[in-house]
Protein backbone atom coordinates (compact mmCIF):
# COMPACT_ATOMS: atom_id res chain seq x y z
CA UNK A 1 0.00 0.00 0.00
CA UNK A 2 3.01 2.29 0.41
CA UNK A 3 3.12 3.14 -3.25
CA UNK A 4 -0.44 4.52 -2.99
CA UNK A 5 0.40 6.61 0.09
CA UNK A 6 -0.11 9.99 -1.64
CA UNK A 7 -3.65 9.23 -2.74
CA UNK A 8 -4.57 7.41 0.50
CA UNK A 9 -3.65 10.63 2.32
CA UNK A 10 -6.56 12.40 0.65
CA UNK A 11 -9.39 12.76 3.14
CA UNK A 12 -12.12 11.33 0.94
CA UNK A 13 -10.04 8.40 -0.35
CA UNK A 14 -8.19 6.79 2.57
CA UNK A 15 -7.46 3.08 2.83
CA UNK A 16 -11.09 2.27 2.11
CA UNK A 17 -10.94 4.21 -1.14
CA UNK A 18 -7.71 2.51 -2.17
CA UNK A 19 -9.35 -0.86 -1.55
CA UNK A 20 -12.19 0.17 -3.89
CA UNK A 21 -9.60 0.94 -6.59
CA UNK A 22 -7.85 -2.39 -6.00
CA UNK A 23 -11.18 -4.21 -6.33
CA UNK A 24 -12.30 -2.35 -9.47
CA UNK A 25 -12.42 -3.83 -12.98
CA UNK A 26 -12.27 -1.39 -15.88
CA UNK A 27 -12.43 -2.15 -19.60
CA UNK A 28 -10.89 0.39 -21.99
CA UNK A 29 -12.21 0.07 -25.53
CA UNK A 30 -9.56 1.44 -27.89
CA UNK A 31 -5.82 1.79 -27.24
CA UNK A 32 -5.25 4.92 -29.34
CA UNK A 33 -4.74 8.52 -28.26
CA UNK A 34 -7.39 8.54 -25.52
CA UNK A 35 -6.45 5.05 -24.32
CA UNK A 36 -2.76 6.02 -24.12
CA UNK A 37 -3.68 8.79 -21.66
CA UNK A 38 -6.22 6.79 -19.67
CA UNK A 39 -4.36 3.50 -19.26
CA UNK A 40 -1.15 4.52 -17.46
CA UNK A 41 -3.04 6.60 -14.89
CA UNK A 42 -5.54 3.85 -14.11
CA UNK A 43 -2.67 1.36 -13.87
CA UNK A 44 -0.49 3.51 -11.60
CA UNK A 45 -3.46 4.28 -9.34
CA UNK A 46 -3.81 0.55 -8.70
CA UNK A 47 -7.06 -0.40 -10.44
CA UNK A 48 -7.36 -4.16 -9.80
CA UNK A 49 -8.10 -5.39 -13.29
CA UNK A 50 -7.75 -3.49 -16.55
CA UNK A 51 -9.00 -4.87 -19.86
CA UNK A 52 -7.86 -3.40 -23.18
CA UNK A 53 -9.54 -4.24 -26.47
CA UNK A 54 -8.13 -3.06 -29.80
CA UNK A 55 -7.29 -5.02 -32.96
CA UNK A 56 -4.95 -2.40 -34.45
CA UNK A 57 -1.21 -2.33 -34.87
CA UNK A 58 0.95 0.70 -34.06
CA UNK A 59 1.67 3.02 -36.97
CA UNK A 60 4.36 5.67 -37.09
CA UNK A 61 1.70 8.40 -37.30
CA UNK A 62 0.30 7.20 -33.94
CA UNK A 63 3.45 8.03 -31.95
CA UNK A 64 2.80 11.79 -31.91
CA UNK A 65 -0.09 11.30 -29.45
CA UNK A 66 -0.18 7.65 -28.36
CA UNK A 67 2.61 8.22 -25.88
CA UNK A 68 2.70 4.75 -24.28
CA UNK A 69 4.19 3.32 -27.49
CA UNK A 70 7.77 3.61 -28.63
CA UNK A 71 9.45 3.60 -32.05
CA UNK A 72 10.38 -0.08 -31.88
CA UNK A 73 6.68 -0.92 -31.42
CA UNK A 74 5.69 0.23 -34.91
CA UNK A 75 3.97 -2.61 -36.75
CA UNK A 76 3.27 -4.51 -33.52
CA UNK A 77 -0.06 -5.10 -31.81
CA UNK A 78 -1.27 -2.15 -29.75
CA UNK A 79 -2.72 -4.20 -26.91
CA UNK A 80 0.44 -6.29 -26.57
CA UNK A 81 2.69 -3.22 -26.49
CA UNK A 82 0.32 -1.51 -24.04
CA UNK A 83 0.41 -4.55 -21.77
CA UNK A 84 4.24 -4.54 -21.78
CA UNK A 85 4.32 -0.88 -20.84
CA UNK A 86 1.63 -1.12 -18.16
CA UNK A 87 3.12 -4.18 -16.49
CA UNK A 88 6.33 -2.18 -16.02
CA UNK A 89 4.35 0.66 -14.45
CA UNK A 90 2.54 -1.55 -11.97
CA UNK A 91 3.10 -5.31 -11.91
CA UNK A 92 0.32 -5.81 -9.35
CA UNK A 93 -2.41 -4.83 -11.79
CA UNK A 94 -4.03 -7.64 -13.76
CA UNK A 95 -3.95 -6.50 -17.38
CA UNK A 96 -6.13 -8.48 -19.80
CA UNK A 97 -5.75 -7.84 -23.50
CA UNK A 98 -8.09 -8.60 -26.39
CA UNK A 99 -6.35 -8.27 -29.74
CA UNK A 100 -9.54 -7.76 -31.72
CA UNK A 101 -12.16 -5.09 -32.33
CA UNK A 102 -15.33 -4.72 -30.31
CA UNK A 103 -18.17 -6.40 -32.18
CA UNK A 104 -21.81 -7.21 -31.49
CA UNK A 105 -20.71 -10.83 -31.09
CA UNK A 106 -18.15 -10.20 -28.31
CA UNK A 107 -19.42 -7.03 -26.57
CA UNK A 108 -21.92 -8.46 -24.07
CA UNK A 109 -19.71 -11.35 -22.94
CA UNK A 110 -16.81 -8.97 -22.40
CA UNK A 111 -18.71 -6.19 -20.62
CA UNK A 112 -20.09 -8.65 -18.07
CA UNK A 113 -16.57 -9.12 -16.68
CA UNK A 114 -16.03 -5.43 -15.85
CA UNK A 115 -17.58 -2.71 -13.65
CA UNK A 116 -16.95 0.34 -15.85
CA UNK A 117 -16.47 0.59 -19.60
CA UNK A 118 -14.37 3.41 -21.06
CA UNK A 119 -15.06 4.52 -24.62
CA UNK A 120 -11.67 5.48 -26.05
CA UNK A 121 -12.60 4.71 -29.66
CA UNK A 122 -12.64 6.98 -32.69
CA UNK A 123 -15.82 5.66 -34.25
CA UNK A 124 -19.38 6.82 -33.75
CA UNK A 125 -20.63 3.46 -34.90
CA UNK A 126 -18.71 1.56 -32.19
CA UNK A 127 -19.97 4.13 -29.68
CA UNK A 128 -23.57 3.06 -30.32
CA UNK A 129 -22.52 -0.55 -29.87
CA UNK A 130 -20.79 0.31 -26.56
CA UNK A 131 -23.86 2.25 -25.46
CA UNK A 132 -26.32 -0.49 -26.28
CA UNK A 133 -24.16 -3.28 -24.83
CA UNK A 134 -23.74 -1.19 -21.65
CA UNK A 135 -27.50 -0.83 -21.31
CA UNK A 136 -28.06 -4.57 -21.81
CA UNK A 137 -25.29 -5.54 -19.38
CA UNK A 138 -26.11 -2.76 -16.89
CA UNK A 139 -22.69 -1.06 -16.96
CA UNK A 140 -21.88 2.65 -16.97
CA UNK A 141 -19.54 4.04 -19.60
CA UNK A 142 -17.26 7.03 -19.74
CA UNK A 143 -17.30 8.76 -23.10
CA UNK A 144 -14.54 10.92 -24.50
CA UNK A 145 -14.02 12.23 -28.00
CA UNK A 146 -12.03 14.87 -29.81
CA UNK A 147 -12.47 17.19 -32.76
CA UNK A 148 -9.35 19.20 -33.55
CA UNK A 149 -8.78 21.44 -30.47
CA UNK A 150 -12.03 20.53 -28.74
CA UNK A 151 -13.05 17.51 -26.72
CA UNK A 152 -16.22 16.09 -25.22
CA UNK A 153 -16.57 14.03 -22.04
CA UNK A 154 -19.64 12.49 -20.47
CA UNK A 155 -20.76 9.53 -18.35
CA UNK A 156 -23.60 7.46 -19.71
CA UNK A 157 -25.89 4.81 -18.25
CA UNK A 158 -24.67 5.62 -14.74
CA UNK A 159 -27.12 4.76 -11.98
CA UNK A 160 -29.99 4.60 -14.45
CA UNK A 161 -29.01 7.98 -15.90
CA UNK A 162 -29.25 9.08 -19.54
CA UNK A 163 -27.44 7.14 -22.26
CA UNK A 164 -25.60 8.22 -25.40
CA UNK A 165 -28.79 7.70 -27.39
CA UNK A 166 -30.60 10.21 -25.13
CA UNK A 167 -28.07 12.80 -26.30
CA UNK A 168 -27.37 11.78 -29.90
CA UNK A 169 -30.22 9.60 -30.99
CA UNK A 170 -29.30 8.38 -34.44
CA UNK A 171 -26.34 6.83 -36.13
CA UNK A 172 -26.23 9.15 -39.11
CA UNK A 173 -24.61 12.44 -39.88
CA UNK A 174 -21.14 13.58 -40.84
CA UNK A 175 -18.69 12.99 -37.98
CA UNK A 176 -15.01 13.05 -38.93
CA UNK A 177 -12.36 11.25 -36.80
CA UNK A 178 -8.72 12.21 -36.04
CA UNK A 179 -7.39 10.66 -39.20
CA UNK A 180 -9.66 12.90 -41.24
CA UNK A 181 -9.52 16.11 -39.22
CA UNK A 182 -6.14 16.03 -37.43
CA UNK A 183 -5.40 16.29 -33.72
CA UNK A 184 -2.70 17.51 -31.32
CA UNK A 185 -1.38 15.02 -28.76
CA UNK A 186 -2.05 17.31 -25.80
CA UNK A 187 -5.73 17.73 -26.73
CA UNK A 188 -6.44 14.03 -26.84
CA UNK A 189 -4.29 13.59 -23.70
CA UNK A 190 -6.34 16.15 -21.75
CA UNK A 191 -9.62 14.55 -22.75
CA UNK A 192 -8.34 11.05 -21.89
CA UNK A 193 -7.20 12.35 -18.52
CA UNK A 194 -10.66 13.80 -17.84
CA UNK A 195 -12.10 10.36 -18.66
CA UNK A 196 -9.66 8.61 -16.30
CA UNK A 197 -10.62 11.14 -13.63
CA UNK A 198 -14.33 10.30 -14.06
CA UNK A 199 -13.50 6.59 -13.73
CA UNK A 200 -11.67 7.20 -10.43
CA UNK A 201 -14.53 9.37 -9.08
CA UNK A 202 -17.09 6.71 -9.95
CA UNK A 203 -15.08 3.94 -8.27
CA UNK A 204 -14.37 6.05 -5.20
CA UNK A 205 -17.86 7.52 -5.02
CA UNK A 206 -16.55 11.07 -4.69
CA UNK A 207 -17.50 14.30 -6.44
CA UNK A 208 -20.14 14.45 -9.14
CA UNK A 209 -19.91 12.20 -12.17
CA UNK A 210 -20.69 13.84 -15.54
CA UNK A 211 -23.93 11.88 -15.76
CA UNK A 212 -26.60 13.82 -17.68
CA UNK A 213 -23.95 16.40 -18.52
CA UNK A 214 -21.86 16.91 -21.62
CA UNK A 215 -18.55 18.65 -20.99
CA UNK A 216 -16.98 20.42 -23.96
CA UNK A 217 -13.42 21.64 -23.54
CA UNK A 218 -11.69 23.99 -25.97
CA UNK A 219 -7.92 23.77 -25.56
CA UNK A 220 -7.18 26.88 -27.65
CA UNK A 221 -9.37 29.13 -25.52
CA UNK A 222 -9.21 27.10 -22.28
CA UNK A 223 -12.96 27.41 -22.37
CA UNK A 224 -15.19 24.79 -20.88
CA UNK A 225 -18.92 24.37 -21.06
CA UNK A 226 -21.25 21.89 -19.43
CA UNK A 227 -24.60 21.16 -21.06
CA UNK A 228 -27.28 19.28 -19.16
CA UNK A 229 -29.46 16.71 -20.85
CA UNK A 230 -32.25 14.44 -19.71
CA UNK A 231 -32.99 10.78 -19.99
CA UNK A 232 -35.27 9.98 -22.90
CA UNK A 233 -37.62 7.40 -21.47
CA UNK A 234 -38.92 6.49 -24.92
CA UNK A 235 -35.57 4.86 -25.71
CA UNK A 236 -35.22 1.34 -24.48
CA UNK A 237 -32.63 -1.28 -25.31
CA UNK A 238 -32.83 -4.88 -24.09
CA UNK A 239 -31.22 -8.10 -25.22
CA UNK A 240 -33.84 -8.98 -27.87
CA UNK A 241 -33.74 -5.47 -29.35
CA UNK A 242 -29.92 -5.56 -29.20
CA UNK A 243 -29.89 -8.79 -31.17
CA UNK A 244 -32.45 -7.39 -33.55
CA UNK A 245 -30.38 -4.26 -34.22
CA UNK A 246 -27.03 -5.96 -34.60
CA UNK A 247 -27.78 -9.40 -35.90
CA UNK A 248 -30.64 -8.93 -38.29
CA UNK A 249 -30.67 -8.26 -41.99
CA UNK A 250 -33.99 -6.53 -42.23
CA UNK A 251 -32.43 -3.43 -40.69
CA UNK A 252 -30.08 -3.21 -43.63
CA UNK A 253 -32.80 -1.93 -45.93
CA UNK A 254 -34.27 1.55 -46.09
CA UNK A 255 -37.18 3.11 -47.95
CA UNK A 256 -36.29 5.61 -50.67
CA UNK A 257 -38.36 8.40 -49.10
CA UNK A 258 -36.54 7.94 -45.77
CA UNK A 259 -33.07 7.68 -47.29
CA UNK A 260 -33.55 10.95 -49.20
CA UNK A 261 -33.88 12.85 -45.96
CA UNK A 262 -30.75 11.47 -44.40
CA UNK A 263 -27.15 12.53 -44.90
CA UNK A 264 -24.72 10.11 -46.45
CA UNK A 265 -23.06 8.93 -49.61
CA UNK A 266 -25.11 7.49 -52.48
CA UNK A 267 -23.57 4.41 -54.00
CA UNK A 268 -25.01 3.49 -57.40
CA UNK A 269 -24.02 -0.11 -58.20
CA UNK A 270 -25.72 -0.20 -61.62
CA UNK A 271 -23.81 -0.45 -64.87
CA UNK A 272 -22.73 2.92 -66.26
CA UNK A 273 -25.32 2.94 -69.07
CA UNK A 274 -28.38 2.29 -66.91
CA UNK A 275 -31.03 4.99 -66.64
CA UNK A 276 -32.58 6.96 -65.01
CA UNK A 277 -29.45 8.76 -63.88
CA UNK A 278 -30.14 10.38 -60.53
CA UNK A 279 -28.63 13.75 -59.63
CA UNK A 280 -27.98 13.09 -55.96
CA UNK A 281 -25.42 15.00 -53.88
CA UNK A 282 -22.39 12.94 -52.75
CA UNK A 283 -22.98 10.14 -55.20
CA UNK A 284 -20.58 7.63 -56.63
CA UNK A 285 -21.10 5.00 -59.32
CA UNK A 286 -19.29 1.67 -58.89
CA UNK A 287 -20.93 -1.13 -60.91
CA UNK A 288 -21.45 -4.25 -58.77
CA UNK A 289 -18.85 -6.44 -60.56
CA UNK A 290 -16.18 -3.78 -59.85
CA UNK A 291 -17.17 -3.11 -56.24
CA UNK A 292 -14.65 -5.28 -54.42
CA UNK A 293 -11.65 -3.79 -56.18
CA UNK A 294 -12.89 -0.23 -55.58
CA UNK A 295 -13.61 -0.33 -51.85
CA UNK A 296 -10.86 2.21 -51.18
CA UNK A 297 -13.11 4.82 -52.78
CA UNK A 298 -15.60 4.44 -49.91
CA UNK A 299 -15.34 5.75 -46.34
CA UNK A 300 -16.36 3.35 -43.55
CA UNK A 301 -17.21 6.26 -41.25
CA UNK A 302 -19.83 7.74 -43.53
CA UNK A 303 -23.36 6.42 -43.92
CA UNK A 304 -23.72 4.81 -47.34
CA UNK A 305 -26.99 4.29 -49.19
CA UNK A 306 -26.63 1.66 -51.87
CA UNK A 307 -29.02 1.52 -54.80
CA UNK A 308 -29.37 -0.34 -58.05
CA UNK A 309 -32.31 -0.34 -60.46
CA UNK A 310 -34.89 -2.12 -58.29
CA UNK A 311 -33.19 -3.09 -55.02
CA UNK A 312 -31.81 -6.60 -55.70
CA UNK A 313 -28.17 -6.01 -56.71
CA UNK A 314 -27.85 -3.44 -53.91
CA UNK A 315 -28.47 -6.27 -51.43
CA UNK A 316 -25.55 -8.20 -52.94
CA UNK A 317 -23.42 -5.07 -52.69
CA UNK A 318 -24.52 -4.70 -49.07
CA UNK A 319 -23.21 -8.18 -48.25
CA UNK A 320 -19.87 -7.44 -49.91
CA UNK A 321 -19.47 -4.26 -47.88
CA UNK A 322 -20.60 -5.94 -44.64
CA UNK A 323 -17.91 -8.58 -45.11
CA UNK A 324 -15.33 -5.81 -45.41
CA UNK A 325 -16.37 -4.26 -42.11
CA UNK A 326 -18.74 -1.54 -43.37
CA UNK A 327 -21.53 -1.17 -40.83
CA UNK A 328 -23.31 2.09 -41.49
CA UNK A 329 -24.77 0.97 -44.81
CA UNK A 330 -28.29 0.50 -46.15
CA UNK A 331 -29.73 -0.87 -49.33
CA UNK A 332 -32.48 1.31 -50.81
CA UNK A 333 -35.74 -0.60 -51.30
CA UNK A 334 -36.98 -0.25 -54.88
CA UNK A 335 -33.64 1.23 -56.01
CA UNK A 336 -33.35 4.02 -58.59
CA UNK A 337 -36.97 3.59 -59.66
CA UNK A 338 -38.26 4.35 -56.18
CA UNK A 339 -35.79 7.20 -55.66
CA UNK A 340 -36.66 8.75 -59.00
CA UNK A 341 -40.33 8.70 -58.15
CA UNK A 342 -39.69 10.57 -54.88
CA UNK A 343 -37.45 13.10 -56.54
CA UNK A 344 -40.06 13.63 -59.27
CA UNK A 345 -42.58 14.53 -56.63
CA UNK A 346 -40.31 17.07 -55.00
CA UNK A 347 -38.72 18.63 -58.08
CA UNK A 348 -35.60 17.15 -59.60
CA UNK A 349 -31.95 18.20 -59.79
CA UNK A 350 -28.91 18.05 -57.52
CA UNK A 351 -28.72 21.45 -55.79
CA UNK A 352 -32.40 22.12 -55.90
CA UNK A 353 -33.02 18.80 -54.27
CA UNK A 354 -30.70 19.42 -51.36
CA UNK A 355 -32.23 22.84 -50.73
CA UNK A 356 -35.53 21.04 -50.85
CA UNK A 357 -34.28 18.47 -48.39
CA UNK A 358 -33.14 21.21 -46.04
CA UNK A 359 -36.53 22.89 -46.05
CA UNK A 360 -38.46 19.71 -45.60
CA UNK A 361 -36.12 17.79 -43.40
CA UNK A 362 -34.98 20.14 -40.68
CA UNK A 363 -37.86 19.60 -38.27
CA UNK A 364 -37.67 15.86 -38.91
CA UNK A 365 -33.93 15.88 -38.79
CA UNK A 366 -33.75 17.63 -35.45
CA UNK A 367 -36.54 15.49 -34.03
CA UNK A 368 -34.41 12.44 -34.49
CA UNK A 369 -31.54 13.85 -32.40
Amino acid sequence: MKRYNRQIKLGNIGKGGQQKLLDAKVLVVGAGGLGAAILPYLTSAGIGKIGIIDGDVIEESNLQRQVIYSEDGVGKSKVQQAELRLSKLNSKVEVRTYNTFLKPSNALRLFEQYDIIVDATDSVEVRYLINDACIVSGKPFVYGSVFQFEGQVSVFNYKNGPTYRCLFGKENGRVPNCEESGVLGTTVGLIGMLQANEVMKMILGIGEALSGKLLIYNTLLNDQHIFKFKKNKAISVDEPSFNDTYHSEKNSEIKAEEALFQPGVWLDVRAVHEIPKLKLPNSINIPLPLLEENLHRLNKNEPIFIYCQAGKRSLQALKILQKQGFRNIKSVIGGAMALNKCIGNKRAGGKQLSADIIMHAIPDFCRSF
Binding site: V124, S145, R174, C178, G264, P363, F369
Partner: protein
Protein backbone atom coordinates in the same frame (compact mmCIF):
# COMPACT_ATOMS: atom_id res chain seq x y z
CA UNK B 1 -29.98 39.50 -30.35
CA UNK B 2 -29.33 36.01 -29.07
CA UNK B 3 -25.88 34.56 -28.61
CA UNK B 4 -25.35 31.42 -30.67
CA UNK B 5 -22.38 29.19 -29.83
CA UNK B 6 -20.89 26.69 -32.25
CA UNK B 7 -18.81 23.65 -31.41
CA UNK B 8 -16.64 21.16 -33.28
CA UNK B 9 -17.29 20.86 -36.99
CA UNK B 10 -20.27 23.20 -36.68
CA UNK B 11 -17.91 25.97 -35.54
CA UNK B 12 -15.70 25.08 -38.49
CA UNK B 13 -18.65 25.26 -40.90
CA UNK B 14 -19.86 28.55 -39.40
CA UNK B 15 -16.29 29.92 -39.38
CA UNK B 16 -16.59 31.20 -35.80
CA UNK B 17 -17.05 29.92 -32.24
CA UNK B 18 -20.01 32.20 -31.53
CA UNK B 19 -21.99 35.13 -32.84
CA UNK B 20 -24.90 37.35 -31.96
CA UNK B 21 -27.89 36.77 -34.19
CA UNK B 22 -30.77 39.16 -34.77
CA UNK B 23 -33.83 36.96 -34.40
CA UNK B 24 -36.68 37.51 -36.83
CA UNK B 25 -38.78 35.01 -34.95
CA UNK B 26 -39.30 33.86 -31.39
CA UNK B 27 -39.48 30.23 -32.52
CA UNK B 28 -36.30 28.27 -31.84
CA UNK B 29 -36.96 25.86 -34.71
CA UNK B 30 -37.22 28.80 -37.15
CA UNK B 31 -33.95 30.26 -35.88
CA UNK B 32 -32.22 26.89 -36.34
CA UNK B 33 -33.68 26.59 -39.83
CA UNK B 34 -32.21 30.02 -40.68
CA UNK B 35 -28.80 28.88 -39.45
CA UNK B 36 -29.02 25.74 -41.57
CA UNK B 37 -29.57 27.93 -44.60
CA UNK B 38 -26.90 30.48 -43.62
CA UNK B 39 -24.15 27.88 -43.08
CA UNK B 40 -23.41 24.50 -44.70
CA UNK B 41 -24.84 22.52 -41.80
CA UNK B 42 -26.98 20.10 -43.76
CA UNK B 43 -26.07 16.57 -42.76
CA UNK B 44 -24.73 17.33 -39.29
CA UNK B 45 -26.16 15.36 -36.39
CA UNK B 46 -26.88 18.12 -33.91
CA UNK B 47 -28.35 18.77 -30.52
CA UNK B 48 -29.57 22.23 -29.60
CA UNK B 49 -29.09 23.67 -26.13
CA UNK B 50 -30.77 26.77 -24.72
CA UNK B 51 -29.02 28.30 -21.71
CA UNK B 52 -26.81 25.21 -21.21
CA UNK B 53 -29.68 22.72 -21.27
CA UNK B 54 -30.35 20.46 -24.25
CA UNK B 55 -33.88 20.92 -25.62
CA UNK B 56 -36.22 18.95 -27.84
CA UNK B 57 -36.43 21.08 -30.97
CA UNK B 58 -39.89 19.74 -31.82
CA UNK B 59 -41.36 21.14 -28.65
CA UNK B 60 -42.64 24.66 -28.72
CA UNK B 61 -39.43 26.43 -27.74
CA UNK B 62 -39.34 30.20 -27.67
CA UNK B 63 -36.16 32.27 -27.72
CA UNK B 64 -35.67 35.54 -25.91
CA UNK B 65 -33.08 38.26 -26.32
CA UNK B 66 -30.86 37.16 -23.46
CA UNK B 67 -30.81 33.49 -24.39
CA UNK B 68 -27.69 31.58 -25.26
CA UNK B 69 -28.17 28.96 -27.93
CA UNK B 70 -25.60 26.23 -28.58
CA UNK B 71 -25.27 23.88 -31.54
CA UNK B 72 -23.74 20.63 -30.33
CA UNK B 73 -22.48 17.97 -32.73
CA UNK B 74 -21.04 14.64 -31.57
CA UNK B 75 -17.26 14.26 -31.96
CA UNK B 76 -15.54 11.10 -33.17
CA UNK B 77 -11.77 11.50 -32.79
CA UNK B 78 -9.77 9.57 -30.28
Amino acid sequence: MVKVKYFGMVAEAAGRPFEYVEVQTSQLSELIKELYIKYPLNGFALKIAVNQAVVDITENNTVYGEDEIALLPPFAGG
